[in-house]
């Protein structure tokens, strides 16, 4: 007869493999650190509007001339020895961009009309009010005929990886908010250069008006992160307590150790494969904690039951044999549960994109690691802990069965 499969035979191999994997993760953590996304690291945020150029203006006349745009109305202010003169070029008086350019020319500026557009919505970009010089200043006008969708903007920025693009305000205004993660040492100029070069290649540099640009801080500050780790540790201690009371201490210690392994194995996976860390990574780790402790307890419950049955029958209890037996008895259940969770999440890992794909990949790995640790590591830990804290002594009372109904 073939000897039944004994999971404990592989305990050193399993523990060694897991140890190495986690060690690799720890080394990478200190050498390279996490590949933090915009949720955890700083980012660069830019608000742009895509609007065609109406005309350009230069001014080399007397004094200084300033061109301003407020509420879509263009103003021209000239300060010279003769005093200050101010002209507001109301769109009702000058209905097109060409009319405004002509009016500015009449005031002594040199203008060049690029396209004739309704003048009602001049765009006030970064750098307005602009002091005019021999360098031409662009004046763009927002129209509702801009042929560009948010998908085009996302497409244009796709070389940057995980760029975050949102529409701002009404759709037809073509205002977009763009956020990208910045690497260490990258300046605001580097970041804006990268973004604007890609946008210019797609939509033409002269049609892009930068409305606002700034560095943004991470969504999760380090204090929030610390709080979460603390909460996690408290949760682990409480689980330890519950399992110690319901089972025995050896079970509790083994399951907590297995849980630690799962969290570390997931983080190592993220570190080794250089996956981006975002808020969804936290979510994935949390889900796996719930999944994995559940898995381990089901197997331990079987061990407890088998030990108890053996004690009642008065046969000599061979803890190791019972542990192996319990793992085997739970095997169908382990496979089925892993299967139902994996089929739920794998389609998303295959078909999804961006953050959500990462989330699904993390979860897939977590489910595999969790199932592995419940079946190979937790029994191995129990093998060692049961030497120190025996599990084969009669406990006083034990519920045999119970039903809600």
């Amino acid at each position: 007869m073939k000897r039944p499969f004994d999971v404990l035979q592989y305990r050193t191999v399993a523990m060694g493999a897991s140890g190495l994997f986690i060690l690799a993760g720890i080394i990478l953590f200190f050498v390279l650190g996490f590949n933090t996304g915009i949720d955890f690291g700083s980012g660069y945020s830019e608000r742009i509007q895509i609007a065609p150029v109406g005309f350009t203006v230069r001014y080399e006349g007397e004094g200084t001339a300033v061109l301003s745009v407020s509420d879509g109305v263009i103003g021209f202010t000239r300060r010279s020895a003769a005093g200050t003169e101010e002209h507001l070029l109301d769109p009702s008086e000058y209905p097109s961009s060409a009319d405004i350019a002509a009016a500015l020319s009449a005031l002594g500026a040199e203008t060049e009309v690029h396209s004739v557009l309704p003048s009602a919505n001049a765009v006030s970009g970064f750098g307005f009010p602009a002091t005019l010089s021999s360098e031409p200043v662009r004046v763009n006008f927002s129209t509702d005929t801009v042929d560009c969708t948010i998908e085009d903007v996302r497409e244009a920025l796709s070389p940057l990886g995980n760029a975050n693009v949102q529409t701002v305000g009404a759709d037809d205004e073509a205002i977009y908010q763009i956020r990208i993660a910045v690497e260490d040492g990258e300046t605001q100029n580097d970041a804006s250069g990268k973004v604007n070069a890609l946008l210019a290649a797609a939509f033409g540099g002269e049609n892009i008006v930068v409305l606002q640009s700034d560095f943004v801080g991470p969504k999760f500050s380090s204090s929030l992160f610390r709080d979460s780790i603390l909460a996690l540790l408290i949760a682990l201690v409480l689980i330890l307590g519950y399992v110690a009371v319901r089972f025995r201490f050896a079970y509790a210690a083994s399951s907590i150790l297995a849980l630690f392994h799962d969290v570390l194995a997931m983080l190592s996976f993220v570190l080794i494969f250089r996956l981006e860390v975002s808020s969804t990574t936290i979510a994935a780790v949390l889900t796996i904690i719930g999944y994995s402790i559940n898995n381990t307890i089901v197997i331990f419950d079987r061990v407890r039951e088998n030990v108890k049955a053996a004690l009642e029958d008065g046969v000599k209890v061979d803890v190791d044999a019972l542990v192996s037996l319990s793992v085997r008895q739970s095997l169908t259940r382990t496979i089925m549960t892993s299967l139902t969770t994996l089929v739920a999440i794998v389609p998303l890992a295959v078909l999804g994109s961006g953050d959500i794909k990462l989330f699904a990949i993390n979860l897939t790995w977590g489910i595999i690691a969790g199932a592995y640790s419940s079946n190979f590591l937790a029994p191995a830990f129990l093998h060692y802990f049961s030497r120190m804290f025996p599990i084969d002594i009669e406990k006083k009372k034990e519920e045999e069965e119970y039903s809600l109904v």
């Binding site: 998908e151 996302r154 975050n164 949102q166 529409t167 701002v168 305000g169 759709d171 908010q177 700034d214 943004v216 801080g217 969504k219 999760f220 500050s221 929030l224 709080d227 979460s228 909460a231 996690l232 949760a235 682990l236 689980i239 519950y242 399992v243 936290i282 979510a283 949390l286 889900t287 719930g290 999944y291 402790i293 559940n294 898995n295 307890i297 089901v298 419950d301 079987r302 259940r333 089925m336 549960t337 139902t340 969770t341 089929v343 739920a344 999440i345 389609p347 998303l348 295959v350 078909l351 961006g354 953050d355 959500i356 699904a360 979860l363 045999e400 069965e401 119970y402 809600l404 109904v405």
Partner: protein, 576 residues
């Protein structure tokens, strides 16, 4: 428990779930898009819109009347019949045989009554929709976008309260970091709204909240603590100021909108406005109140504030004072019986009450508080004050961060995953798999119902997490089925196997799920934002799955398996 009792309990759960889901379903499927858009604005916008609708409506109806007196009432104005009937009844007139434009319009005593009726209708529709929008399962920033608010540090007010001292760049950033933590807890009371709050540049905070663009919501989380005070009212001076000012408001305010104190107001007194909200929830000046500058009690002595209704059914706020505050208040009220006391919030008088008795611990104040105000006050009392005040510099709607395509594909993938879970169970367990799937569907409905009752925000990752939780929830059924199979293999008959299987599996399932729930509850109490939201979903999911697997599927089994051995159930497609 008897079978009927069990069936009734399951039905009860289904009914409750349906009730909890009702607002969400109504909002996403039955509120017209135009109403949603109109309701998304501020209350001022809603007022303008309603009045616009009313004047358009009056014009449309009167021009229709000129064209054809006997024309039928247009569908859009059918609701006016009710108002017309009420107007007729009030004037002691009979309702007409047939409703035409003429009979409808002549029922209203004046054009302004008609205007009022249309305005009231539009207003209540929009305000209802607005309220509803705050009570449904929200879609997160990644799926649908929301409101983006840029807040700027108010260095001027900081300098004013710190002897002209202006914070340095790094001090400012540190204070803003603290502000961010406080804002996060204010916005994200239950960890369910998934806001995105970041430092922008060195002196701004960027806040993105899922949901409609609604300036009132911004005000609600910006209001600081300590702006709530109790002060005595001087009645005779108040009367005199009202006589002078009420008919000529332009004299009462300076350019900045502050109230100019008349010269006869002695030092030690201040003039404040008494504001009450109109039907739109917009604060309107009602009268002027002269207050003693000396503050009896301020917000720091309040421990809690709760919205309640007074005897007349008006919203009132119940404040609970700490013991020191209660002593101060008791001493003060017993010395000032008959005087009038004002509650001042953010410099505006919200309520004036006559002191009838000495009051200590609990204070109930009825006045012009709305439910939202009482609630936001309670939230603010629970969180600490902002180290540096913030001013909103821009509020704008922002679109979803994920593209339509990627959302669509991800949703398809999630649906495929869910179907695969269901199929796997049927393929492996046969007819019993269908029972597990029924329990699973009920689990899904229960989870979504609870999440929507908590006004949860659904992001793409939380939807994926939900499906995974369902994949895990099926585990309980798997454990039970494997047990039943074992019992059958050991020779028990179908009926005994089922009851033994459920019995044996009970503690296995309990122990494994309780450990998960412990982890989830701790993380939901101590964790922050995303952690909290996810922990809540996990706890709800596990709790629901305990009910569906141990209770509902057992009930279903009992329907199919009888103890006389005539009916059984197969746990696989192979029949022995």
């Amino acid at each position: 428990m008897k079978k009927t009792g069990r069936v009734l309990l399951v039905l009860l759960v289904i009914v409750v779930a349906a009730l909890l889901l009702y607002p969400t379903i109504r909002w996403y499927f039955f509120v017209p898009e135009s109403t949603k858009t109109a309701a998304a604005g501020s209350n001022e916008n809603i007022r303008d819109y309603s009045r616009g609708q009313a004047s358009r409506g009056v014009r449309a109806l009167t021009s229709l009347l000129q064209e054809d007196r006997e024309a039928a009432i247009p569908e859009d104005f059918m609701y006016l019949r009710k108002d017309a009937e009420a107007a007729l009844k009030e004037r002691g007139m009979e309702r007409p045989e047939e409703w035409t434009v003429y009979t409808l319009l002549s029922a209203f005593p004046s054009e302004s009554a008609l205007f009022q009726a249309i305005e009231d209708h539009t207003r209540s529709q929009l305000l209802d929709a607005k309220k509803l929008s705050g009570n449904v399962l929200q879609l997160g920033l990644d799926l649908r976008g929301g409101m983006s608010v840029v807040l700027e540090a108010d260095t001027a007010s900081y300098a004013a309260s710190h002897d002209g001292e202006v914070p340095s760049g790094s001090e400012l950033t540190a204070m803003l970091q603290d502000d961010i933590d406080i804002l996060t807890s204010r916005i994200d009371q239950f960890g369910v709204s998934e806001p995105d709050i970041r430092l922008q540049g060195s002196d701004q905070i960027l806040v993105e909240v899922p949901g409609e663009t609604d300036p009132e919501r911004v005000d609600a989380f910006l209001r600081g603590r300590g702006s709530l005070t109790f002060q005595l009212v001087d009645s005779s001076l108040s009367e005199r100021v009202n006589r002078d000012y009420m008919d000529n408001l332009s004299r009462a305010f300076d350019e900045d909108g502050s109230i100019i104190a008349p010269s006869y107001i002695p030092s030690g007194y201040t003039v404040a406005g008494y504001y009450a909200e109109d039907e739109y929830g917009i604060e309107e000046l009602q009268s002027f109140v002269v207050l003693r500058s000396e503050v009896v009690l301020d917000g720091s002595h309040l421990v809690s504030a709760r919205m309640e209704r007074d005897q007349n059914g008006r919203p009132a706020v119940n404040f609970r004072l700490d013991s020191e505050g209660a002593d101060i208040f008791y001493a003060f009220t017993s010395a000032n019986i008959g005087e009038r006391l004002a509650v001042v919030m953010d410099g505006r008088v919200k309520s004036v009450a006559t002191i009838n008795d000495a009051i200590s611990g609990d204070v109930q104040l009825s006045g012009s508080f709305t439910e939202e105000e009482a609630q936001s006050l309670a939230v603010i009392l629970r969180t600490s004050s902002l180290p540096i005040d913030l001013i909103a510099v821009s509020e704008q709607g922002v679109g979803a961060t994920l593209g339509d395509d990627s959302v669509r594909i991800a949703m398809q993938a999630i649906a495929i995953g869910f179907l695969l879970v269901i199929l796997t169970m049927i393929i492996y367990y046969g007819p019993a798999g269908i029972i597990a799937d029924v329990a699973l569907l009920l689990n899904l409905v229960m989870m979504v119902a609870v999440l929507s009752a908590l006004h949860f925000t659904l992001t793409l990752s939380s939807i994926a997490g939900l499906v995974l939780t369902l994949g895990m929830a099926i585990d309980a059924n798997v454990i039970i089925y494997e047990r039943i199979k074992e019992e059958m293999a050991a020779g028990a008959d179908c009926y005994d196997s089922v009851s033994l299987g459920f019995g044996r599996a009970f503690w296995t399932i309990m122990d494994s799920n309780v450990t998960t729930i412990i982890a989830a509850i701790v993380l939901s109490i101590l964790g922050s934002s995303t952690v909290k939201g996810f922990a809540n979903t996990l706890a709800i999911g596990v709790a629901c799955s305990l009910f569906t697997s141990l209770f509902v599927s057992h009930l279903l089994f009992d329907f199919f398996v009888t103890d006389d051995g005539r009916r059984g159930v197969w746990l696989s497609w192979r029949r022995k």
